[in-house]
Symmetry: C2
Subunit: 308 residues, 2 copies
């Protein structure tokens, strides 16, 4: 046992500017991030696993209407919701993911079931839901995920004729949630969940359900969850690239994250960020956009939450 646990979460990145967020919204976001941290750190402080902590934190973020994952997810072009998620265990390198599910309240929990109860990693759409049904998962109607705020964003995106991220017109916001944890047994885990892009069409899938792109975990190096412009995060295989820089390039977690996010991705105009923890409990929350909803807690220290 390394006797130290660490947890970090994100709720998306983008053009988060203080002048666009009211004091009340800011307060609500901090409270939601804190609730997600508490859910995960309660697991870790009771000697629970990194995997359990990641699921606990991401579930809270999915259930919050404030973030683009689970309830509060953005609308597709067809005014429906399609959700993606993935999870990976650093100890076993086991992984599970679902994409384009429409009736699963907590896609992160279904991802874990795919990892633990199937021979597969990625299950898609109705097939993923058939698997969920056989696992006894209860279904919600697609409108369960709807909120007035997101419907208004869809109307604005339709009027503008744009496939948008989850942003108002002047903003660029990548709504995704994620958590990364190290438990006292030295095991790492990472999970990511998203509602995708407002007004999205063509069954677009971003990086969030893709192992290596949106999510990666390996006890030898680190665990990572990403949020940002999904297409760039896919092409750069971002989550695994952090681990590869550490493993093959002998970089520290900090250098690996900064080189990747602040240089390589920034030079491409690939807005976004990531959270990561290495096997020694070092925590990184790095973003090249004006803000990223984020938080962290390390054993024995006060929890931290921030937006800008």
């Amino acid at each position: 046992m390394n006797k130290k646990f660490a947890l970090t979460i994100h709720g998306g990145a983008g053009t988060l500017l203080r002048e666009n967020i009211s004091p009340e919204q800011e307060k609500n976001i901090h409270a939601a991030l804190r609730a997600a941290l508490d859910a995960g750190s309660n697991v870790l402080s009771s000697c629970g696993s990194a995997m359990d902590a990641v699921v606990a934190s991401v579930t809270v973020l999915e259930d919050s209407e404030l973030f683009n994952a689970g309830r509060g997810a953005v609308f597709t072009n067809e005014a429906t919701h399609e959700l993606d998620a993935s999870i990976m265990c650093g100890k076993t390198n086991g992984a599970g993911a679902v994409c384009s599910v429409k009736h699963i309240q907590n896609p992160i929990q279904l991802s874990r079931m795919v990892m633990e109860r199937s021979e597969h990693v990625l299950l898609n759409g109705e097939g993923a839901e058939e698997f969920a049904r056989l696992q006894g998962v209860s279904f919600v109607s697609n409108s369960f995920f709807s909120t007035d705020f997101r419907r208004q964003q869809l109307e604005e995106a339709r009027l503008a004729g744009k496939v948008q991220l989850d942003h108002a017109d002047k903003e660029k916001k990548f709504g995704t949630v994620g958590a990364v944890a190290l438990d006292i047994n030295g095991n790492l885990a990472a999970g990511t969940s998203t509602g995708g892009m407002t007004n999205k069409r063509f069954g677009r899938v971003g990086d969030s359900p893709l192992i290596g792109c949106g999510t990666f975990a390996d006890n030898h190096t680190c665990a990572v969850s990403c949020t940002g412009w999904g297409e760039f995060f896919i092409k750069n295989v971002v989550a695994y690239d952090v681990a590869a820089r550490m493993r093959y390039g002998k970089m520290s977690l900090r250098d690996a994250c900064h080189e990747l996010v602040m240089k390589k991705l920034a030079e491409q105009g690939a807005d976004g960020g990531l959270i990561a923890i290495d096997k020694d409990g070092q925590v990184e929350m790095v973003f090249n956009s004006p803000g990223m909803y984020r938080g962290s807690v390390v054993m024995g220290e006060e929890p931290f939450t921030a937006i800008f």
Copy 2:
């Protein structure tokens, strides 16, 4: 211009044993591999691009009934065909992919359209087909892909109650096709296409449509196309791992491929292989299974094809 071109293709890996393949089948397989090589090398020898060569070669392999991609694809549990493909350009790092399409004769060509004509990388199912329709792609009926041989495999898999790869009972065969090319301008490209697993359920997606896992290309390092037990290839982010070992670990293409396929993957029981070309035109075709349908041609040399 480096004035040298190179091309390599695969048609799947697995328990390919001489005693299970008739001389006539063997002859047909060599002829099909040769036809695919010719299609690609005709492009390259006329100063065409690596991207055009990859599409030309994979199209021939998709159109051949002998391989599990395009026509001749395996059946899902519902006795339908669901096809996946991906492509990546080493010069631009542009990428395109489709998963679970049912009416597209050549998914590799649709993947290229996603890369060149959309802002996205991965399009899924009906959405991908909606995109195809807007691009003027003609559709085929799902039964276009059916062959008696694959239907018989489905019946056997159903009787055995197994989700199988594209194999007879004693075999383990990973039917996927792919091509990797270097053109005379020094540009690399890679593409992969598959029909997935016989009797597959739950919308299972393997590594073939996933950038970084089944396909990767970057002019700084190499281009890679994989075939094998998809779940392991996802968790090991195989295609990108070859590039990362070269870039960060300063390994040669040969060492990177061999360390990964013959050690890391073999130790996990992750059957399969990959084809790769580095920026200098070095060609690798590496597999830890008894056989891999494969071929290569380097400018000025005789084409090579092999099974075992």
